[in-house]
Structures are given as structure tokens and as C-alpha cells.
């Protein structure tokens, strides 16, 4: 194929987004992964790179799911799935587990979201203002407490509605906390001037990305 041929856009799938995030996590970081795409990130960190995963229910050093037949029912993650413990792992009670989160000890938390705003606001727990029984879990603690908050999500809803917005319309989880967003189309930093595009998937141009984004995008300087 000649170099001048137009490239078709190649959006990342869920594992592709997770793998892209994993590339940016250095050895030695303590990391909490939310439910959904963030959970997949652990699978894409190479075994020789030591990253310590934390789970809200008091597990530090979370390992992969156990093979069927050797499930330990007392060892679960925050999504209530069976997990294993890596060498060097430890158990703490809930107040200490959230002191890890709220005390600013996590290098990184990766969460899913319904919406992220250009001022760093995140909405990821309640879908409507009227749902008074929505489950918040540890989302507000993680969003407010981690040293870095990255979000992993599809760039738009299934109906094509932008999720990167000027202002969140869903109930907020925390204000002004998101540092970076990884979508199926792009990586974007949240800066004082708004979303700055760090990179885009192959074949996508800035104007097409802007067309799928509610907030105004900025090119990296």
C-alpha cells in the first residue's frame, strides 16, 4: 500500500484502552483500578514490572483471578470477584484501606465514568438526579483521595453522545480531580485550559475528534 493512501480510523477496543493505560504505569506505583475497563489494566502490565494493586475491601497486592477449582471464597476484590494475593501482599481493615485512598498514598486510581468535564469534574456513580438509591461505593473517596486520577472510557455513548463535556450533566462524583482521560479514540490531559489532546488513534484527525467531543479540545503545544 502506498504511503499516501488514506488510513481508516482504528478505534481501540476495551483491552486496547487498558493496554494503552498500562504502558503509562511505571514500576513501583500503588494503583487502584475501578470496575469495567480499568479492571482490565492489570492484565496488561507485564509480569516483570512490579506494580502493586489495591482493592478497597482491604487487599494490597491483588493478583489475577484464580483458576477454577482453587477459588478461595474469603479473598475477593472490590467487585466481589475472587482474586489471589501476590507475594508481598497484605490485608488491612476498611478504615486503613480507605486511609490508603484518602490519605493520598495511592499513586494512581483509574476509574470508569459516564462523563468527564474540561475542568476535571467526574460523574461516574448515579445516572439520574432522581435516583436516590444509586450505589456510590468507594468512588467518591477514590476520586477525591488518589494522587492521580485517570479515567478510562468510550469517547461517546453507544448513541454517539459525547462523554467529554464542557460541564457534567450527571450527578458529580468529585470536582476538578481528573488528570488524564484514555478513550477508544484518544488520550487527553486535563489542564487549566481544558482538554489537551496527547495522542489520537491511527487515522483520526483533530477535527473528527472534536466533532465527537462536547468540550473544546486543544492541541498539545
Amino acid at each position: 500500500m502506498p504511503d499516501t493512501a488514506p488510513l481508516s480510523v482504528m478505534p481501540l477496543d476495551r483491552h486496547g484502552i487498558a493496554a494503552r493505560i498500562a504502558r503509562d504505569i511505571p514500576e513501583g506505583w500503588y494503583v487502584n483500578l475501578g470496575i469495567g475497563i480499568p479492571t482490565l489494566v492489570a492484565e496488561h502490565v507485564p509480569a516483570e514490572r512490579e506494580v502493586i494493586f489495591h482493592s478497597e475491601n482491604g487487599v494490597l497486592g491483588v493478583g489475577p483471578s484464580p483458576p477454577p477449582g482453587v477459588v478461595d471464597p474469603w479473598l475477593i476484590n472490590a467487585g466481589k470477584q475472587p482474586v489471589t494475593l501476590r507475594p508481598g501482599g497484605s490485608y488491612v481493615h476498611h478504615a486503613d484501606s480507605f486511609a490508603i485512598i484518602r490519605g493520598g498514598h495511592l499513586d494512581l486510581c483509574v476509574l470508569g465514568a459516564f462523563e468527564v468535564a474540561e475542568n476535571g469534574d467526574i460523574a461516574n456513580w448515579a445516572t439520574t438526579k432522581n435516583d436516590a438509591a444509586a450505589a456510590v461505593g468507594g468512588a467518591m473517596d477514590l476520586a477525591a483521595g488518589a494522587r492521580r486520577l485517570w479515567v478510562a472510557m468510550e469517547h461517546t455513548t453507544k448513541e454517539g453522545k459525547p462523554r467529554l463535556v464542557a460541564r457534567c450533566t450527571y450527578p458529580l462524583t468529585a470536582q476538578g480531580v481528573v488528570k488524564r482521560v484514555y478513550t477508544n479514540l484518544a488520550v487527553l490531559d486535563v489542564t487549566p485550559r481544558g482538554f489537551v489532546v496527547v495522542e489520537m488513534v491511527r487515522g483520526l484527525d483533530f477535527e473528527s475528534l472534536q466533532a465527537q467531543t462536547d468540550a473544546r479540545l486543544h492541541q498539545a503545544a
Partner: protein, 232 residues
């Protein structure tokens, strides 16, 4: 001789009053004192406020206690999950009060109660609807929300090992809310998988010392799974 072991469920549940605030250990099924919840169902106390991470699943345990109309109010972080059918039905019928608390704020409110701290400021929840109506204050330019301690009248706890002094250890992630709830209630009742002789727990591994524990019931072979066999 100090001996916090009780011989029967009736003895374990004795004196729990109507209107009590009950702290219930566990994260989903793991670390949840199922036998003690069944004991509370049989004991009969009503008009309860239950503090737990989840609002029960299926029709057993906490869900059964709610289904029987014994819970007036639930304070939790994650009421809605797969199988929380009883909670959903009661809530939509207006027959149960709900207070949603961020999970870390819930844990810290319980810990604060056990540590004699009446209230604290946290940035968690600031600017969200869970902070509406609450006092706020700026620290280092950031908004913090005032949260009150959450003491219990009764705590129901699941331990892995216990001795007659009430010293406890926990198994893996079944530790969760149990140690802090044991500290935060006037009456702390424990079910333990294993009963060990006095001195049988190495002092270095005791997670909850017996000072926080009032009664211990030996309930061997408790498994953190629903009758269907799956964690929830």
C-alpha cells in the same frame, strides 16, 4: 476467670433492644456474620437501624431481616447490587429509609466512633449531592465536608479465630469492616470459625484485642457464599 464465649445463640443475642443501631460487618457475603444475623432474626428486635456496606441480597440474612419489616433505616455505601431485590422492593414502596455514605466516609465515621472522635472533615463528597446540607470548611484551599461519627448499640462481627478473652483474627479480605465495627459499639458480639485456647493466638497477630469484644459464639464451618454458591 474471664470467658467471653457464650454457649448459645440466645445468650449471644440477649438484651438487644428495639430501635438499636446495629453495625453489621462484611463486604457482600465475605466477613458477614451470617449466623448472628439469623440469631437476630430469631431474637426479634425491631425498628432497627442497620449500618452495613451493602443492603443484602436474595432473601436470606440481612435481606430476610429487612423483608420481615424489622429494619427502619439502612446506612450503607452500596445498596444496589445484583440480587438486592428485597431492598429495591422496600425502598420503592417507601418502607425503608436509606442513607448513602461514601464507603471511606462510612469506614471513617465508624472508626471515629470507636476512637472517641465526634466528627471530622473530609474532602470526599465535597461539591456532590451527598454533601448537601452539610457544614463545609476550606483547608489549604480545598472544600471539606463535616461528617459525624457513627456509633452502634450493637456490632455483629465475623472472626476467623478467637480466644476466651475475645482476642480476634480475621481471614484474608473477610477482615473488612469487622475490626472497626468491633470498636464502635456498646455491645460487640462475635461469631468465630475457630475457638482457640487462651494464649493460642500469638500477640503479634491479634488484629482485634479482646477489650473491644463482649461475647463470642463459636460457629464452625461458616462459608462466605450464598446458598446458590456464588459470592454476591
Amino acid at each position: 476467670m474471664i470467658d467471653k464465649f457464650v454457649a448459645s445463640m440466645e445468650e449471644a443475642m440477649a438484651g438487644i433492644q428495639d430501635g438499636s443501631v446495629v453495625l453489621l460487618g462484611g463486604f457482600g457475603m465475605v466477613g458477614q456474620p451470617d449466623a448472628l444475623i439469623d440469631g437476630l432474626i430469631a431474637q426479634g428486635a425491631k425498628d432497627l437501624t442497620v449500618v452495613a456496606n451493602n443492603a443484602g441480597t436474595g432473601h436470606t440474612g440481612l435481606a430476610r431481616l429487612m423483608e420481615l419489616g424489622r429494619v427502619r433505616r439502612i446506612i450503607c455505601s452500596f445498596p444496589r447490587s445484583a440480587g438486592s431485590v428485597v431492598f429495591e422492593a422496600l425502598y420503592s414502596a417507601g418502607r425503608i429509609e436509606l442513607e448513602i455514605v461514601p464507603q471511606g466516609t462510612l469506614a471513617e465515621r465508624i472508626r471515629a466512633a470507636g476512637a472517641g472522635i465526634p466528627a471530622f472533615f473530609t474532602p470526599t463528597g465535597a461539591g456532590t449531592r451527598l454533601a448537601e446540607g452539610k457544614e463545609t470548611r476550606e483547608f489549604d484551599g480545598r472544600t471539606h465536608v463535616l461528617e459525624n461519627a457513627l456509633p452502634g448499640d450493637v456490632a455483629l462481627i465475623e472472626a476467623w479465630r478467637a480466644d476466651r478473652f475475645g482476642n480476634l483474627t480475621f481471614r484474608e479480605s473477610a477482615r473488612n469492616f469487622n475490626p472497626i465495627m468491633a470498636m464502635a459499639a456498646k455491645l460487640t458480639i462475635v461469631q468465630t470459625q475457630h475457638a482457640v485456647f487462651a494464649g493460642g493466638l500469638h500477640p503479634e497477630v491479634i488484629v482485634t484485642p479482646g477489650i473491644f469484644v463482649d461475647r463470642v459464639l463459636h460457629v464452625p464451618y461458616a462459608m462466605p457464599v450464598e446458598k446458590g454458591g456464588e459470592n454476591a
